[in-house]
Symmetry: C2
Subunit: 461 residues, 2 copies
């Protein structure tokens, strides 16, 4: 016999836009955010872009009564910007930094320095094990020509895999944050389909907030209107997603967003709107949750065809990212080569110049060439290292996607294999590597022709 308990869980998520000395009214806004959190008493607040540890410590001190449990995730050069404030004890935490996150030389974008990551905290909520994830993915600076799309797709893939692999014993799973993706973007479809997470905004009984749930709105005084075009009213890129388990049923009863201006205050909390979700958590005790979970922890309930198709689409993006990065790697090599030529020029010309020491201009020119050559060689070498590492990450992600996709097709009886191949002719090689379809060996050290099936083990009943 099983008993049922109901718990209300109030969640909050906000991208705080906390770049000290650059974000406008930063410290005043942190005061406003602290007041809001202290007043509203959410169970869990998930914050992004808390870039400065000083600001985090201010929030920690200020919220010590309302949210006595907190964790700050540190990664990258500046930090991940991720912070969790909770009324419930934080039992454990883990950080996973994404393998791809833009380029360090795009200093004006700055994402690379942020060390974008997903943070997990494990809470005990009325005896239930709640796995709370907070993340912030790479920004989209130009939707028409989004050079960061492969990076964001890799991040979405790593995010969902991290959640899949670390939530096996969770009663409930919550993900909140700035995903920098529109609801129907590839990464969002990938995330929802493969993680089984449901969008609170799509499921809420009541909603009070901006039209279409948008969180980057034209009416916010901090928003640059031209950045939103062609979406005049705004876009929805911040989310609270949820997933129950075999013993816990989750329902979003209400959801709200801020709407730009804050009553009685001169400016909004941030350039993003905040999200608040109230969930009804119904916990059925005494159920055996292991069996279903154990048979296949990746079973999200979505049709296999849909799962495979969305991975196939993502693989296309990652492959294009690979080609794009290969071109960048080639340019880095060219830079290196030209730099070496500039360095060699002074070295070869110097003996000639030593016989014509009156050539002042030539000497300074050669010095300049040498310095330029040195800079180019150093930059070329560093960029080569950077792009080589990025190619590794892209190749690794594609292999991981192949593995998941091939296993899904295998589970589905292989009927999708031919239909949803990516047609680049290397499917057989890829599937063998993915661990699904054994490839024919060109030779065997012993030259024997054993069966391609794994040797049966001693399984004694």
């Amino acid at each position: 016999m099983s008993a049922q308990r109901s718990v209300k869980l109030r969640l909050f998520s906000l991208n705080c836009w906390g770049i000290r000395y650059l974000s406008r009214h930063c410290s005043q806004r942190y005061q406003m955010i602290a007041e809001l959190l202290d007043r509203e008493q959410h169970d869990i607040a998930l914050l992004q872009e808390v870039w400065s540890e000083t600001d985090y410590l201010y929030l920690k001190r200020t919220l010590a009564t309302s949210h006595p449990f907190t964790h700050y995730f540190r990664s990258g050069v500046i930090g991940s910007g991720l912070a969790v404030f909770s009324k419930h004890r934080i039992q454990d935490a883990l950080l996973y930094q994404y393998s791809l996150n833009g380029y360090p030389y795009m200093i004006h974008h700055g994402d690379w320095f942020g060390g974008k990551a997903v943070g997990l905290v494990i809470l005990n909520v009325c005896g239930m094990r709640a796995h709370i994830y907070v993340t912030h993915l790479h920004a989209e600076y130009c939707r028409m020509n989004d050079t960061y799309l492969p990076h964001r797709t890799v991040q979405a893939w790593e995010l969902l895999n991290f959640i899949r692999h670390t939530s096996a014993d969770a009663d409930l799973v919550i993900l909140g944050g700035d995903l920098n993706m529109h609801p129907q973007d590839l990464g969002m479809r990938l995330l929802r389909a493969h993680s089984g997470l449901r969008d609170c905004y799509m499921e809420t009984d009541t909603f009070d907030g901006c039209e279409d749930g948008i969180t980057l709105i034209a009416d916010n005084t901090f928003t640059k209107k031209k950045d939103l075009l062609p979406f005049e009213k705004g876009i929805r890129i911040d989310y609270i997603l949820m997933k129950g388990s075999n013993s816990v049923c989750l329902k979003c009863e209400s959801m709200s967003t801020t709407k730009g201006s804050v009553p009685g205050k001169p400016f909004p909390y941030s350039d993003h709107e905040s999200l608040t979700s109230e969930l009804l958590v119904q916990h059925t005790e005494g159920m055996d949750r292991t069996r279903e979970r154990h048979n296949d922890s990746s079973d999200t309930g979505a049709p296999v065809r849909e799962l495979v198709e969305v991975v196939s689409e993502a693989r296309g993006v990652v492959k294009e990212g690979f080609r794009q990065t290969e071109r960048l790697q080639l340019m880095a090599m060219c830079l290196l080569a030209v730099g070496l030529a500039f360095l060699l020029l002074p070295a070869t010309t110097l003996p000639w110049l030593s016989h014509h020491s009156h050539c002042v201009v030539s000497y300074s020119l050669l010095g300049l060439l040498g310095a330029l050559g040195l800079a180019m060689v150093a930059a070329g070498a560093l960029l080569y290292v950077l792009f080589t590492a990025q190619l590794k990450a892209l190749r690794g992600t594609e292999a991981s996607m192949k593995l998941v996709s091939a296993n899904l097709q295998e589970r589905d009886g292989g009927c999708l294999t031919e239909e949803i191949g990516d047609g680049d002719g290397d499917e057989e090689e890829e599937e063998a590597e993915a661990g699904i379809m054994p490839s024919t060996p060109p030779h065997s050290p012993h030259g024997d022709a054993r069966s391609q099936q794994p040797t049966p083990l001693d399984c004694e009943e």
Copy 2:
């Protein structure tokens, strides 16, 4: 009623020493390794230092019959070097790259470029869910003055946390690889205590191999004898560790290592010895494994005092690493400042020189100074970025250690807190941040004195 099944599982682990053009007899040794794996038909082979993808693809083709399922983990600039070959279907895979892994300027050590990581593959072994981890930690180049100790300790911590958080639904857990730690080193004690993994060598019924299970031996023709001192015979740094679950009992029936030379071959397989473990897997079906696991997935069976003490020791090492990295960061800033001075010197001297254009030597000297200044500024800035990121990782690890330690003490009734404090006077601040002990707020936006306990939720039975 529950039924019991027994399965034999043969595991293999080898650091292949596969640096193309640098490791001696590389391709011949890969042929030997392929022959060995094909002949011995282990269930799972865990390989490290397979640096070249070409070599991995050679192994994959050659072992397509004996080990049809394989996965190669790509990370860093060169790769992680980790590969898994299996007779059992690989259902899923995940890679976790360590946040600290040496320094890029230590090119002769090369670890940084390897992108050291832990790879997880999930296998279906006779209906059981086997989580197989393979890893390779940062090398120890000088035991007397091991500057990489904080990095390796962080890696050990991240490794055990990754295993803890991703193995909740595993029936059995295996970790194999080159851990670059002696059996009683801090990282090994940390790993064993907090992951619950048991050392196959310590538990095996029968053992056939090198004395004391050493895997880097003086008798191996590839080993530099001076690198082993003061351990004349050799050291044990390669391991196969194992852990069962509530439904699966693991027993190491036999274990063996190679002993340097290979009969009939001119040289050994590698500069490391290989490990082979034969495990007896006893699977009791029908047990409810959720409860125990669910109550506390971090419960490894070790006494709390031991767990807290070893974390406290590790925190000391991480703190020392922090101080060491702060000094390096300061040196990077000095380099940057001197470089700027070198750059400014030509700029300020140039107007003077323009009136004395006969000064050829001065011009070339200034050019040289300028180039040197530029190089120093660039190097200083890059090193500053590197060390800042490393400080973030060290600080994050320490916060994670604090969280785990504080929760352990809380679970144990807090009686250990005073005894095993690290005495640096910031315990209160730290514990509040770790999410355990609410700190007194200096002020509250509302000025009220609410209870420091979280507000009770609506828990309706």
